[in-house]
Symmetry: C2
Subunit: 650 residues, 2 copies
Amino acid sequence: MRRQRWLQNQREQRLKIAKKELPQSALPEHDGTGRVKLAFRALEKDGAISSERTITVPTGVSAFDAASWNGIAIDSTCGGYGTCKKCKVKITSGDVPISPLDNRAFSATELSQGWRLACLVRTVENISIDVPPLTTRPKAATVGVGRQVILRPAVQKRYVELEEPTLHDQRTDIVRLLDAIDDIEATVSLASIRALPQILRSSYFKVTAVFIDQALIDVEPGDTTSIRYGIAYDLGTTTVVATLLDLNTGTPLAVKSMLNKQQPFGADVISRISATMLDPLALDRLRSLAQATLSELTNEVCEEAGINPLHVYEVALAGNATMTQLVLGIDPEPIGVAPFIMVSADYPDVEASELGISIHPRAKAVILPSLGAYVGGDIVAGALASGMDRDKRLRLFIDVGTNCEIILGNGEKILATAAPAGPAFEAASIRCGVRAASGAIETIKIEDGEFVIGTIEDVPAIGICGSGLVDACACLVQVGLLDHSGRFVSDEIAATVAPKLAARLLQREGERVFVLTWSGKEGDLNDSVYLTQRDVRELQFAKAAIATGWALLLEEFGVEPSEIQQVLLAGSFGSYLSPASAIKIGLVPKLSVLRIVSAGNVAGEGAKMTLLSAQERHGANALLQEIEYVELSDRADFNDKFVERLAFPS
Amino acid sequence: MRRQRWLQNQREQRLKIAKKELPQSALPEHDGTGRVKLAFRALEKDGAISSERTITVPTGVSAFDAASWNGIAIDSTCGGYGTCKKCKVKITSGDVPISPLDNRAFSATELSQGWRLACLVRTVENISIDVPPLTTRPKAATVGVGRQVILRPAVQKRYVELEEPTLHDQRTDIVRLLDAIDDIEATVSLASIRALPQILRSSYFKVTAVFIDQALIDVEPGDTTSIRYGIAYDLGTTTVVATLLDLNTGTPLAVKSMLNKQQPFGADVISRISATMLDPLALDRLRSLAQATLSELTNEVCEEAGINPLHVYEVALAGNATMTQLVLGIDPEPIGVAPFIMVSADYPDVEASELGISIHPRAKAVILPSLGAYVGGDIVAGALASGMDRDKRLRLFIDVGTNCEIILGNGEKILATAAPAGPAFEAASIRCGVRAASGAIETIKIEDGEFVIGTIEDVPAIGICGSGLVDACACLVQVGLLDHSGRFVSDEIAATVAPKLAARLLQREGERVFVLTWSGKEGDLNDSVYLTQRDVRELQFAKAAIATGWALLLEEFGVEPSEIQQVLLAGSFGSYLSPASAIKIGLVPKLSVLRIVSAGNVAGEGAKMTLLSAQERHGANALLQEIEYVELSDRADFNDKFVERLAFPS
C-alpha cells in the first residue's frame, strides 16, 4: 500500500512538469533516407582545437543529439526545445537553415557567421561544426529524446573546513565531519571512514566528503568538489557501449563501444542461456567475459577523457534481463525456459565492484530494473529516456532487434510487448549479411532507376547489414522487382519495370537472387553482395512479427495507426533504419516520415539519466508499475495477424 | 531530537522490567578468599557423558556462572534468581547446602540425590556436577551478572514451502520468496540472491531464508531453522576470548581464549599505538595479527562444538577503543596523543569478513561502541552485562587492568571514569611477576601463621600473577610484615609479629624482599619467587589510582562508600581477585566481602547479549548517552587524593 501511494505521488509530480513540443517549423523537410556526416571540432576558451571528430548519423538527427550520443559535450538544459539557448555552435561549412528560435538567440551578424542552436540543427547534407567550451555548473542537462534532466546526481560532494579537536572538544572524527554537513543525514560504513584519521590530519581538517544519496563513501583531502564522474553502460547482447559523464555538468566526456566478449557463446540470449545449461563452468565464464567488456570500456573512456578512474563514483547499467543476470553471475536458466522467471526485477544496492570494473572502490552501480524476462532494463531505460511515461502524445516505441520490444503510450496508459523478430536484423541469417562495421552496405537509394549504395566508412562493400537489408527490400518493392507478397518478379516483368536493374536479378542454386554490388566482372557472384529470395523471406518474417506486435497493441489501446504522433526507432539497429524504408516495408505504420524519429541509443541515454538525477532513478522503478505488459503469444488471433502482415504494403 | 526521544523511550521500556534481587539467604557464607574447583559432566538424554571439564573459580561464583563463562550449556531464563527453575543440576560429590528455592524446585528424594538449581550453587569446597541435556527452544537466557535476556537474536530464519512458478504466476524468484514471509520487511542485497535460482529449483522450492534484522543474507535448501550460531569476542590487549553461542537456545557451546598475537608490539595499548607512529607498516601488521587471533579462536570454538563455521551468521566484538580501531585497520594514533580522539564511537554496519574470520560470507559483526578513547567497547559491554543501566541498587563496577575503568551508578544516574593503574596488575613491572598461567601464584592465605600458596594448575610456583600479588600484600599487611605506609618492617619487628615468616624477609641488592616460595634450599633466591619493596610500591600506585577513581566518583555522586550495595570486580584480572584481599589493600571500599562480587568476563558477556537480543544491542548504544564521563586528570584535588590513598587501610 505504501508503495502504491509512493508511486502515485511520483507519477503526479512528474506529470506536473509541463510538456513542451518541438515547433514543427524547426524541423527541416527530409525524405527519411540516407546519412549525413557531421564534422565536430571542440574548441577551448582561447579558440584552440581540443578535439575533432566526424560522425555519421541518419538524416534528421539533430546535431546536439549526434554530439551527445558520441561523447561530445555541448551545453543544454531545456531538453532540446530551443528555449535554454545554451547549445550554441558555429556551422563552418554546409548550409543550415535559420529557425525562428535561432533568430531570437543570435544577432544577424552571429547568424551570418554560422551560429545556430545545436538542438535545432538538422540537415540533409554534410556539415562542419565548431563547439565552444562548456559554461560552468548548469542546473539541468538535455538527455535522451527531448528530456530535460534537472541535475541532481546521487553522487554529492561537500567541502568542509573543520575546527581541529582539543581537550575541550573531543568529538570523534566522524561526528566532527558530519556535524559540519547539515544538509545530508549521512549513513556511514566502516570502509568509508577507515582512513579518516589520516586524511583529516594530513589535510589540516580541510576535506571533501563524498556521498551517494545519504551514504558517505569517502573523504578526500582538500576541495575536490569539481571532480565527479559516472559511467553509463548499455550492455547489449551484441554491442556494449560506455559513456563517461561529468556529473557536475551533465555532459558526456567520452563514448566507447565494443562487441560483447560473450560472442563466442552465441549471437543471441538463448544461445548463451543454453551454454550455461550444458556446461556448469559457462556461467562463470560468461560473467567474467561481460565484466571484462565493461572493464575494458571503462579504461578506454577514462583514458580518452584523461580522468582518473578513482573519480568515477557511480555507474549505471542497462541490459536485457539475461545480460543483467549474466554480468551479475546469476544463473539465467529460468529466464530461458518456460515459465520464464527472473531472479529479481530490480537490484537495489549493488557495489560497482560486482561488475568487475576498477573505479572508486566504494562506487555504486545502478542496475536498470527489468519489466519481465523479455522486456529488460534496456527497454525500461529506453522508455525513461524517451519519456514514454510523461509525453502526452500517442507514441510508439520500437526497439528493433532479435527480440523486439514495443511500447505504445500516451503518458497516461502505457502498453508493452515483446515480439520475437529473429536474427534477420542482425543479418546473422542473411546470405551476405555482415555486422554493421566497415564495408557493410548500410543505405540504398534509387536515383535515375539505379541503386545508389552506401557503405560504412565508404569502402567497397563486403556484405549487407540490417539497415541496408531494409533499404534493399524497400527499394526492390518500390521499383517493382519484388511483388507485394515478397517474391522476386519474373525476368520479363523485371525488364519492363526496372530495365537498368534487371540484369542484377539472377538464378543461383535454384534460387532467385538480386546482386547489389559486383565484386569483379558482372555475372560473377563470387564475393559479390547479393540478396536471395530466402533473405527477403527472413526479413518478411521479422517485420511481420514487429508489425503484428504494434498492430495488436494499437487494438488493445483502442486507437488507429493514423493517430500515432511519433514513432521512435530505438536500439543500435533501429536508430540507423531509414524511416522511409521502414514505412515502405511495413515495419512501422504508414505515417509522414517526419513522425518516424531515430531515438539513438536510448538504453544508454536512460542509464545516463539515472546517474544525472536521483529522481529519474525512481522514475525507472516507477515504470515497472506504470507499464502494462501485454502477452501476445497466447492470443488466438496472433497467427492470423502475423500472416496478414507478411506482405509488403501497397 | 528524534534520537533523544528514542533514547528516552528505550530507557523507560527497560526500566519497566522489574528489578529482582537475589535472596541473601541463598548466598552461602564465605570469607572472600581462595578458589574452588567445579568438575562438570555434561550428560546426554540416555545418561551417557558427552563431555567433562573441571573449572577453577573464585569462591562465591555460582556454578551456573562458572559453567556459562566456560562454554558449558545449562538452561536458564530468569537471570539467575532461582525463579525459572530450569538450571537443574545434580551434585555428585561435595556438600552443597539446600536453599529455600531448591525446596520449591525439587522433591525431598531429588534433593537427597543431590539435585540443586545451578544458579544458587555457591560453595567453599570442590564439587562435582552432572548437567542434564538442554530442553528445547527457551524464550530467554541468563547471561552476564544476573541478566535475563529475552531471546530475540537479530539472526532470524524462516522456512517456507513455495508454489512453483507457472505461465500464470511469473513472479520473480525473490518476490515469490518474500511474499511467503509476512513478518519481515526484507531488504535484499545482490550477494544474498545470486544463487537463488539454483537453490530454489534444486530444493523443489522448499528453502530457509536467513535474515539479520531485515537484511536477507542467504537462502538455504530445506529446513535449517534449528541451525543458528553466533560468536562473541572479547578482544583484550592481552587476552582474547571467543564464545560460540547457540542462538536458538542462548547457551554457550564452546569458549576458547589465547594471547593476543599483537603481544610482540608491546604489552599495553600505548606501546602498540607507538609502533604505528614509528613504522608505517605496523598498522597493517597489528590489524592482521589481531585478525589472526580472532580467526584461530573462531576455528577452535567451531571445532570444539563440532559445528560448520558457515552456520555462524553474526559475531559481536567488545574491545577497548585502541583494539577496536586496530582490528578494523584504523590508525589509532589520535587515540594515543592529546586530545585523544577516536575515529568513531560506533560502527553501525560491519561485515564479519572485515574481522578476517572465515564464517558465513555475509555474516555481520556487531562492534560494541566506545564511550571514549579510554572507556571502550569492552566497558560498555561490561556495563550492559552487569545491568549498570537498570539495577536500582547503588553499584560500583571496576574493570581492573593497566587502564582501569570505573562505573558508579544506581540505574538512574551513571558516572564513569578511567584510572591509569599501570602495569602492576598484569605483573609486567613486578620482579617475579608472570602472567596468570600454569605455575603462577594466584592465591595466598594465612593458616597457623604460615602462608598457604596456591598456584595455577597446582604445579610448583614459577612466579606471581596479579591476584597473587594482591593476596600477598594483603597477607603481609595482615600479619604486620608490611606497615600501613607499605614499608617492610625491620627484622626485629618481623620476628615479633610473624615469627614463622620472619626468615623469609631478606635483603637483596640493597632492597628488602619477602620470599614466597623457595626454589631450592632456604636462603637461595635463585629461581625462588619473592616480592620486593619496589613491587609493593608498584601495587600501591596501582591501587591508589583505582581508589582515587572511585572515591572521586562517589564524591561526584554525593554518596558515602558505605552506601554501595554491590562492587563488581570485572575483567580477566579483576574477576580472579580475592574480595577479602581487595578490601584489605584498599582497592575497593571497606564493605562485607559478600558485597564484592566477581563479575567474570563481562565484556564477553555483554558481547553475547548483543547477539542474543537485538533489544540489548540498542541498549549498548543507549549507554553511550546514559553514562556521564567524569574526567579525573584535570581535577585540582586528584593528586592530594591519590597520595592519601597510597597507604594500606588500617
